[in-house]
């Protein structure tokens, strides 16, 4: 899980991912290509970040993962280090009773795959050590695997214990210096252990419906273990496992077969119509055989919107207003908000290209009366009027008003308003579909509705430059 921590931290600190902002958690779990550096760079960034920080990132990102042992959920025979990672058996009674400690929270199944490792600092007297998972009801005086709904891999005999005091042969024994890992795969519903980075095979396939905590148990004096919940790189290559599981999930999704290709054709067509790409509409409709009367009827409307958009993106606002009044006579009367935006843009264009006196005169004549309508208009007017105060408005603090992107924004607003005016949807269905996909995937993870969604990053499905 360390890769996920680090990815989140990377995303967060760089702040460069303005696009689909809340994708970070599931996306990082799916090891998105944009974070391909995760395995190498992650270790440094995660070890330098305190656990608390990682935790808060996860809470904000749909689920919370175990990050340390719980001082409250600990047998009194055990001593916990201040960073809550190292556990030592302390009692010196002759008949040593087992002592168990659970992690600070359960493993949310919606994380897809969870992995943690434990290093044996010392085998103590006898090395009666157990590592595994258990539920919250497991008594704190038992070793992992001894009770119902707990699973443990024990160091002294290498046996696997599954809800019973009698184990079965599973792996090699382990002792001082060894690193033992435990992987819970919620997609497969299975658990396996690793020793020094080597997987030891499936331990159980019977974890469905269980709320599981990482846990360790010790039994003789001097036994000491230190956990790694992703703070450091793992001995086992968990990234590879993530990739494989993700590949399986994506393949499953891709292999479902419906009418998606036909649906896509229609979505593309309606998208092209929406944005007024009239020539592309004609060609595409003709090639796909989706042309016909309904397209013919729309083509004039599409061309009108296209023409208006082009004029506006060239900054020719006056002509835009004339065309609007000619083609859609009631439109600007009904949409005073759009008229206001256009007039503001005209003022901005005049600041760029005309003598300042003309701009001022235009502002007073056409715009200033809007300030009586609402505070919002007034504020916007104050902002654009202040352009006059600068000898070089381009380098002024409000120079962004003069950029082309401001025009593009209005092009988009105007286009949407015209579509609404013509009783069309203001958002292309294509966009609705993409947004819905993103929100549903997030909710599947958040509501714990399925473990596979953790591997899905909608951004990767959209990003066409991504060759993955």
């Amino acid at each position: 899980m360390y890769s996920s921590f680090s990815n989140n931290i990377n995303n967060n600190s760089s702040g460069s991912r303005g696009y689909l902002p809340s994708l970070s958690s599931p996306s990082s779990l799916s090891l998105s290509s944009s974070s391909s550096s995760s395995s190498s760079s992650s270790s440094s960034s995660s070890s330098s970040s305190p656990n608390k920080n990682q935790n808060s990132l996860y809470r904000q990102n749909l689920f919370e993962l175990p990050t340390n042992w719980s001082p409250k959920d600990k047998c009194s025979h055990l001593e916990l280090s201040s960073n809550a990672l190292k556990v030592t058996y302390k009692t010196n009674k002759t008949d040593n009773e087992a002592g168990l400690i659970r992690a600070n929270c359960f493993i949310p199944p919606s994380c897809g795959i969870y992995y943690f490792e434990v290093t044996v600092i010392s085998k103590g007297r006898d090395g009666y050590i157990g590592i595994g998972v258990c539920t919250s009801s497991m008594p704190l005086t038992r070793l992992p695997g001894w009770e119902r709904n707990s699973f443990g891999y024990h160091g002294d005999d290498g046996n696997l214990f599954k809800g019973s005091g009698t184990g079965s042969a599973y792996g090699p024994t382990y002792t001082t210096g060894d690193v033992v890992g435990c992987c819970i795969n919620f997609v497969q519903g299975s658990i396996f252990f690793t020793k020094n980075g080597v997987p030891l095979g499936e331990a159980t396939k019977d974890i469905k419906g269980l709320v599981l905590f990482p846990c360790i148990g010790l039994r003789t004096p001097g036994e000491s273990l230190e956990a790694n919940f992703g703070q450091k790189p793992f001995a086992f290559d968990i990234d590879q496992l993530f990739k494989e599981e993700k590949h399986r999930v994506v393949k499953t999704i891709k292999n479902t077969n419906g009418e998606e290709e036909l649906t896509s054709t229609q979505l593309v067509l309606s998208y092209l119509i929406h944005h007024g790409y009239s020539e592309t509409v004609k060609l595409f409709a003709k090639t796909t055989g989706t042309d016909g009367e309904s397209i013919d009827n729309q083509i004039d409307d599409i061309k009108n919107r296209q023409k208006i958009s082009e004029l506006l993106s060239k900054g020719n606002v006056e002509k835009v207003i004339n065309e609007l009044n000619r083609i859609y006579p009631n439109f600007l009367k009904e949409r005073k908000d759009i008229l206001f935006k256009l007039l503001c843009q005209k003022f901005i264009e005049m600041i760029k290209n005309s003598p300042i006196e003309e701009a001022m005169e235009f502002g007073q004549r056409e715009l200033s009366s809007f300030s009586n309508d609402s505070v919002e208009y007034e504020n916007q007017l104050n902002e654009i009027f202040s352009l006059i105060a600068y000898t070089d408005p381009f380098s002024s603090p409000i120079g962004h008003l003069l950029e082309k992107s401001k025009r593009d924004q209005i092009v988009n607003d105007l286009n949407c308003a015209l579509l609404v005016h013509c009783n069309k949807s203001s958002t292309p269905v294509l966009e609705k579909i993409v947004k819905q996909a993103k929100v549903v995937i997030d909710q599947v993870v958040f509501q714990n509705a399925g473990p596979s969604a953790a591997f899905i990053n909608v951004k990767e499905f959209i990003d066409v430059d991504d060759t993955n």
Partner: protein, 220 residues
Amino acid sequence: MNKKVISKKEWEEKLSEVNISKQDLNKLVMNFLVIEGYQEAAAKFQEESGTSSIVDLNSIADRMAIRSAIQSGDVEKGIEIVNDLNPEILDTNPQLYFHLQQQKLIELIRKGQISEALKFAQEELASQGEENEKFLEELEKTISLLAFEDTSKSPIASLLDHSQRQKTAGELNAAILTSQSQDKDPKLPTIIKLLKWAQTQLDSKCQYPRIKNFVNGEFE
């Protein structure tokens, strides 16, 4: 178990928090046009939207010619161009080959060339049907079109739709792209699949505004 209810208002807030730019959607559309082989539309789209393609649009030409042959009903010509391009494509893909032959049969039926259709089915398709149960089933279904004097009244009249041609053309197009080791799947259909898959998962836990119509985006 009681399902959690997410209100329309709550849902719309979540939707509005998703930022996706027009540029990204344009790229998605370009990706679809290029991979599906709509060369002219792709070139025009590049011009009208200012979206550039990462693939050389000229490489679409062959795939385009094949697609247009199939979509205009000339399956024979489609097969010819594919074999000129790379004969292995059809040799190594019996299902695709069968679907092309099936499409050819459909075209014969459409044109009312009944005796040719029967002859073609017996001579070319029957042997493939013997080898594969699924092919046989599809073959029988197609042949049953002949039982209707007015084929549009047949329950399987959809085989005669333009969409059937498009489906066959799409399958062939994907096979060619794979043979050229290009990404054979356009992104958009996968996103729709993803959405359907995810909605099914979420249904188990929540009641929420799910999209039921993927063409017009209507909620349930």
